[in-house]
């Protein structure tokens, strides 16, 4: 009977894998990812420029170069949310019933980390800000219950989603302020057009509990900080076009502005070294290291790719290493384990390059990763 069933399969009908396994035949299966990810597994985010309705993230093993799985994220994909307390992955995306026309629907999709397939979704107001991806597009608050997504229509606001209950909570108006930088339990801050920070607090149900606007801490017209700040413990490090670091302590209810320091010496400036890229900063928390993607360029080159990664000890605020990259990079990331890897990608060449952050040696290159890599994330 099994032979008959196999013939039926060949006759364009279906056959169960169990049946196939009995004879000289492979058992056809569907792979799943293990419950625990490895520290060197890396997310490679691709907005799919040219087909922005179809953004993707690829999970890649930076040790072996193995391609592990694809996450089909959806339209104007920016970044993943990777909670440590729930076995879930989230991404905000924009959909149209006819790919790029019809009624717009914005959703937060909940993915299963073992299949990278959707298990649920929460519809949010169709107003999320889109464009060149930034990791500050959305964030989970520190207790990981609420996800905040930045909206712009051009009115500026934030959508709050309760990821525990999987329901939309509310849209909070935040005029003049943009993007999401989580700062504590039910709290995040936003960058405002006058160089100040807006701290937004949430009630226990996720609704807005009040906003506090700081004094301006930089001049957005003379030397703006980029949107691509990195967080290390309770500090957000904002870095300006001219290479000044503005550390902001967010342990308390209101931000504390710590002393500014420079990534560049006078000599570096004379040589036109500049920060630049779409994701130009990374940190290693335990080692207290800051990685900055650098290039020589003129003013307004803050989005140009870099060919060096400079490494700073955040305790001494001194540069301790200069890694010359083999080729341009527009995004960098560092794994958070004790044998960290430095990861780089360039939006114009769909590959991931892996470096030893101590020796600067290029360890390997993983090619054919989508079309336009916009960001890198670690678990």
């Amino acid at each position: 009977m099994c032979v008959v069933r196999r013939l039926i399969l060949i006759m364009l009908l279906s056959c169960s894998p169990l049946c196939l396994a009995q004879g000289l035949a492979d058992r056809m299966t569907i792979a799943t990812l293990p419950p625990e990810y490895q520290p060197h597994w890396v997310w490679v985010n691709d907005i799919a420029y040219g087909h922005v309705a179809d953004g993707q993230a690829f999970l890649v093993d930076a040790d072996t170069g193995r391609f592990l799985a694809t996450l089909s994220a959806g339209g104007f994909f920016m970044k993943l949310e990777l909670p440590s307390t729930r076995n879930e992955i989230y991404a905000a995306a924009t959909f149209y019933p006819r790919v790029n026309r019809g009624e717009r629907t914005d959703v937060v999709t909940i993915f299963d980390p073992q299949t990278l397939s959707p298990v649920d979704e929460v519809i949010i107001p169709p107003r999320r800000q889109t464009g060149n991806p930034t990791l500050a597009h959305s964030a989970l608050t520190d207790e990981q219950r609420f996800m905040a997504i930045y909206n712009m229509t051009p009115a500026q606001s934030v959508s709050v989603v309760d990821m525990q209950e999987r329901k939309f909570v509310e849209e909070i108006a935040t005029p003049g302020c943009a993007l999401i930088y989580p700062t504590g339990i039910r709290r995040f801050q936003m960058l405002c057009g006058d160089g100040s920070l807006l701290t937004v607090s949430l009630n226990e149900d996720g609704s807005g509990a009040g906003q506090v606007r700081s004094k301006p801490f930089f001049d957005p017209w003379q030397d703006p900080v980029t949107e691509k700040a990195v967080r290390i413990n309770n500090q957000w490090l904002y870095v300006s076009f001219d290479g000044y670091v503005y550390p902001v302590d967010v342990a308390g209810k209101e931000p504390k502005f710590l002393p500014t320091w420079s990534l560049l010496s006078a000599e570096d400036r004379a040589e036109s070294w500049r920060i630049g890229g779409l994701q130009h900063l990374a940190v290693h928390e335990r080692r207290q290291l800051l990685f900055s993607l650098m290039h020589k360029g003129g003013i307004d080159s803050h989005k140009d790719p870099g060919n060096y990664v400079w490494v700073y000890d955040l305790r001494s605020k001194k540069r301790i290493n200069r890694i010359k990259l083999k080729g341009a990079a527009s995004a960098i990331q560092v794994t958070q384990d004790d044998q960290p890897l430095l990861l780089t990608a360039f939006i114009g060449n769909p590959k991931l390059t892996v470096y030893d952050p101590d020796s600067g040696e290029r360890l390997r290159t993983i090619k054919q990763l989508g079309s336009t890599i916009t960001g890198l994330q670690t678990n």
Partner: protein, 178 residues
């Protein structure tokens, strides 16, 4: 896109690489059932062998034993992305995709034991197309109107989504023409 590389490569390889599968395929019987042409493939009976008899890739020389290579022996009739490069293997769909139940069938010669095997090229479906290791060999491929032998058809059929992701290459039997 690596399409260009693969196709150029294939053009260059030319005649050399194409062994005479056609000769075998042409001897397949066909059975007309209700206006539809169905092949009676000479699949060896399943009780004559066991899973242990599946040929061992590790013993093969060069890329003929590497499921991520276009030269992998089971890929003789493929047109698409081998799932081995996309998070799956030659018999497993990548995480979160759906296995198509129906497909097209090729016959590939294992260079280790010289035997011919029936290969089922099932598509894995539901995630955006994997563009890795694109491979075009098409040995024994027939036009779309001979569906069971056509690799131009998207075999993501009867699945929840018909979006093609990649293709596996599973042995489903040994060819009886030895």
């Amino acid at each position: 896109m690596k399409l260009v590389d693969r196709w150029v490569e294939r053009s260059v390889r030319g005649v050399a690489q194409r062994t005479s599968r056609r000769h075998f395929m042409s001897r397949l019987g066909v059975l007309l059932v209700g206006g539809s042409v169905l092949p009676l493939l000479p699949v060896a009976r399943s009780n004559e062998s066991s899973v242990a008899d599946l040929p061992d890739d590790a013993s093969l020389e060069g890329t003929a034993g590497d499921p991520r290579s276009c030269n992998y022996w089971r890929h003789c009739a493929i047109d698409g992305a081998p799932c081995s490069c996309c998070g799956g293997s030659q018999t497993a769909c990548p995480p979160g995709t759906e296995l198509s139940a129906i497909t097209w069938i090729g016959t590939c010669r294992n260079p280790g034991n010289g035997k011919n095997y029936i290969i089922s090229y099932n598509d894995c479906c539901g995630k955006s197309t994997c563009g890795r290791c694109m491979c075009f060999r098409s040995e024994g491929d027939k036009p779309i109107y001979v569906p069971q032998k056509s690799n131009d058809i998207n075999w993501c059929q009867g699945t929840n989504s018909n979006i093609y992701h990649c293709t596996i290459a599973a042995v489903i039997g040994q060819s009886a023409d030895e």
